[in-house]
Symmetry: C2
Subunit: 84 residues, 2 copies
């Protein structure tokens, strides 16, 4: 079966987010006020061929732990859905 995978990778709260800080300053320079605690994360999407949903989910979790996220400074959230 073919699954559509979405992985949402975000920095752990309390860890510095320099890209977010830069965006916050740039928004201020452009005259946008009122934006605070800007944080930037990553979304990784792909198609995955797997026997069933639970094996797809465990494969994706292993991909995250081994390659796609840094568990020390990032948290991830996985969504696996059947592709149409």
């Amino acid at each position: 079966m073919n699954f559509a995978v979405t992985i949402d990778v975000r920095g752990v709260e309390g860890i510095a987010d320099p890209e977010g800080r830069t965006i916050e300053r740039a928004l201020g320079s452009l005259g946008f006020s009122g934006a605070s605690t800007v944080r930037v994360g990553k979304v990784i999407t792909f198609d995955l061929e797997a026997d069933d949903r639970s094996s797809a989910e465990s494969t994706v979790r292993e991909m995250c732990d081994r390659l796609l996220a840094n568990p020390v400074i990032e948290r991830y959230e996985i969504t696996v859905s059947t592709s149409s």
Copy 2:
């Protein structure tokens, strides 16, 4: 009012995604087979002080057009919700 803003920025289909290609190859090297069309996008989240939801949304759209997304190669999706 304070709003929680989430902006999902993704590459337009058909535009090369070198980061996605690199992840795809790296997954293969690690022994994960079956993943294809890997694409990497960005999620920007922040708090926004605005008078009401519609003014928050139009502000965020302007932020995207002027700074946060490149309309030539990226599409964005905005979610604005009232913070608790």
